[in-house]
């Protein structure tokens, strides 16, 4: 009995399957559905899918940060000494990028006499300033920094997750002015004049 039912089901399914194929073939042959239209729709579908894939790829590329577009032009060094309490930052970044500039100073109440060789620990720093700059259409930004005497840590963060913050250590040492100041007369002109 079970064998008969199974055989009938198989035959039934086979008849149904053959019927639907025959019906489709008949319909196309009869001209009820345009063959070229089907091909066209398939091509369009493929194109749409390809476009979506390209868009995804492009978005992915756009989201990938090009570090060369985010640069600090000035200062050129990561750590240096100056005599004045004013310094400057110049840089480039794509328009509308937000750049956060934070300045941390040290009170040095503990008389640890910090300098570039003896830097403070993270706990010794106190935030002096935090400012957000929006990069203009020219793709440049600049900022005048008001520093404090002693060690200053300037942290520059671009609004781009992949890029790490840039840290600059500036040692403001007013006593440096008398010893280290570049006020020498250019020698080359003097030599040229003497030769003449």
């Amino acid at each position: 009995m079970l064998k008969r039912i199974l055989a009938s089901l198989v035959i039934g399914v086979a008849i149904f399957a053959i019927g639907s194929i025959t019906y489709a073939t008949d319909t196309i042959e009869k001209g009820l559905i345009d063959k070229s239209k089907i091909e066209q729709s398939i091509i369009e579908q493929i194109r749409t899918d390809q476009g979506k894939i390209d868009d995804i790829k492009e978005t992915k590329l756009e989201n990938e940060i090009d570090p060369s577009k985010y640069q600090i032009i000035r200062p050129e060094k990561d750590a240096y000494t100056i005599e004045e309490k004013v310094d400057f930052v110049n840089g480039i970044a794509p328009a509308d990028t937000t750049v956060t500039i934070e300045i941390y100073g040290t009170t040095d109440l503990t008389r640890k006499s910090f300098n570039l060789l003896k830097l403070p620990s993270e706990d010794d720093y106190i935030e002096v300033l935090s400012d957000i700059i929006l990069v203009g259409n020219s793709g440049t930004f600049s900022k005048q920094l008001e520093l404090v005497t002693g060690i200053n840590k300037v942290v520059i963060t671009f609004d781009a997750d992949e890029l790490p913050p840039i840290e600059i250590i500036i040692f403001v040492n007013p006593n440096n002015s008398t010893t280290n100041r570049e006020m020498k007369r250019p020698e080359k002109l003097l030599e040229m004049i003497i030769q003449n």
């Binding site: 004013v86 400057f88 020219s138 793709g139 440049t140 002109l189 003097l190 004049i193």
Partner: protein, 476 residues
């Protein structure tokens, strides 16, 4: 009776002698100076010229990092204090002169120094004469025109660099005393009351001296101006005509035009006082002038302006062009003026410059002036001082516009892939100067607008220094 008559006569004689002596004492100094003036025309002319030839900007390099730019010299009077130094230098016979390359000159600019920028190239001989140098040294032959003058202010002996933009001439004379200027320079550095600037050459690698402020600490004074010639009654107009012709109005022909402009004519000379505030004067050439002399032409112009228009404070020589009219050779001179130390840009469609003169040595052929005077109104009730935008802010706000102008000038098409970089734009810019813009809308109480005037290869653009709006443009 006879004795009384004698006494009366004696008293009369004494009174007359007293009166005449009084007149003599008052008039004598004028006549004495008048005699000298006739014999030494150069002196009076040089006095006027020295006021008209002065720099537009002053760059102070304290060291490689700190530098500032002054547009207005009224606070520190750097030019006034340096005149004597330049006069000594241009008159010295003991100078050593050497040509410098661009690189050498640039390296000196990073040393403690001061640079004086003139609005246009100045003839070095004229500069020497304006500084009252009787016998200029060979410097005037070595470098005939000068655009900027550099003074080294670091340790050791001073030296100078005269540059016309292409050629840099180093001049050394240890006898020149610059100690006072150096002291003043150090004092300014110590005060720290200046705006810090950066060099676009050092920052963006462009091949031009453009300096951009990090911040602007202050605002500019609100200035109101008025037409010098406005709402004049008949009597005032006639007085002006008498001044120009040096004759009584009885000898001068007067014609009033329908538009209320008045024309005066005397002995082939014509003066027109226009309703729009301009004054025009014309005097055709009487003799042929086959050789032009710039110094004589400038002196003639300076004296003419002084006698007729009166020396307006802040007037300066902006442009010198050679002029040829038939067989005659002369100059077309343009004078502009500064208000509160800053140059003024005129927004008048009809009159671009304040004074235009056609001069052929000792003869003024045509003269046109449109003077707008500072009304010196005290502004009260200002609650909050608004800071000026920096020139970088102006470029950022108007970046797309400037890029369009750049692409138009370079005959390039905008490309989506390749954006125009800041160094390309800064290379396109020739000069950035803080100025006042005069919209020329009213005869009186017209408010001047503080602007950043950006001069490019193709034109002049005046952007409002408070909101960045383009107020005026003039194509080259």
């Amino acid at each position: 009776m006879k004795e009384r008559l004698k006494t009366f006569l004696l008293i009369s004689l004494v009174s007359i002698s007293l009166l005449l002596t009084k007149r003599l004492w008052i008039e004598l100094p004028h006549e004495v100076f008048g005699l000298f003036a006739k014999g030494d025309k150069v002196y009076s002319a040089s006095y006027l010229l020295s006021d008209m030839i002065m720099p537009n900007k002053y760059l102070l390099n304290f060291n490689e990092k700190y530098l500032t730019l002054f547009y207005d010299d009224s606070k520190y009077r750097l030019w006034t204090n340096s005149r004597k130094i330049f006069a000594n230098l241009l008159g010295s016979k003991d100078t050593k002169i050497v040509d410098l390359s661009d690189e050498e000159f640039l390296s000196y600019k990073r040393k403690p120094s001061m640079v004086f920028y003139f609005p246009e190239k100045v003839n070095t001989f004229i500069l020497a004469k304006a500084l009252d140098v009787r016998d200029p040294s060979s410097i005037v032959d070595t470098i005939p025109n000068v655009k900027d003058i550099y003074i080294y202010l670091g340790k050791g002996d001073p030296f100078f660099v005269f540059t016309d933009g292409d050629r840099h001439t180093g001049i050394y004379d240890k006898a020149i005393d610059i100690s006072e200027l150096k002291e003043q320079f150090m004092e300014i550095e110590k005060e720290k009351g200046y705006n810090y600037y950066y060099s676009a050459r050092d920052t963006y690698g462009i091949d031009k001296d453009i300096y951009i402020p990090y911040e602007m600490k202050n605002s500019l004074a609100t200035v109101y101006v008025e037409n010098e010639i406005r709402n004049l009654d008949e009597e005032d107009k006639r007085k002006i005509a008498e001044r120009y012709f040096g004759k009584s109005i009885d000898y001068i022909r007067e014609i009033v035009e329908g538009n209320e402009s008045t024309i005066y004519e005397y002995n082939h000379r014509v003066l027109k006082l226009n309703i729009n505030g301009t004054v025009e004067y014309y005097h055709p050439l009487e003799d042929t002038v086959k050789k032009r002399n710039l110094y004589e032409s400038l002196s003639t112009s300076a004296e003419f302006i002084s006698q007729n228009a009166g020396i307006t404070k802040g007037m300066y020589l902006a442009r010198v062009e050679e002029l040829e009219s038939g067989e005659n050779l002369g100059y077309n001179l343009t004078f502009r003026y500064r208000v509160r130390g800053l140059p003024v840009i005129l927004g008048n469609e009809e009159v671009v410059d304040f004074i235009q003169i056609e001069v052929f040595n000792n003869h003024i052929r045509s003269y046109k002036h449109f003077i707008r005077k500072d009304m010196n109104r005290a502004i009260g009730g200002m609650t909050e001082e608004i800071k000026l935008l920096t020139s970088q802010d102006i470029i950022d706000i108007n970046y797309d516009f400037i890029v369009e102008e750049y692409l138009g000038a370079k005959k390039l098409k905008a490309s989506k892939e390749e954006s125009i970089k800041i160094n390309q734009i800064l290379s396109f810019i020739e000069d950035i100067t803080l100025s006042y813009f005069d919209p020329c809308l009213k005869d009186m109480e017209d408010e001047l607008i503080p602007v950043w005037a950006i001069r490019t290869e193709t034109g002049l653009y005046a952007f409002n220094a408070y909101d960045g709006k383009l107020e005026y443009r003039r194509d080259k």
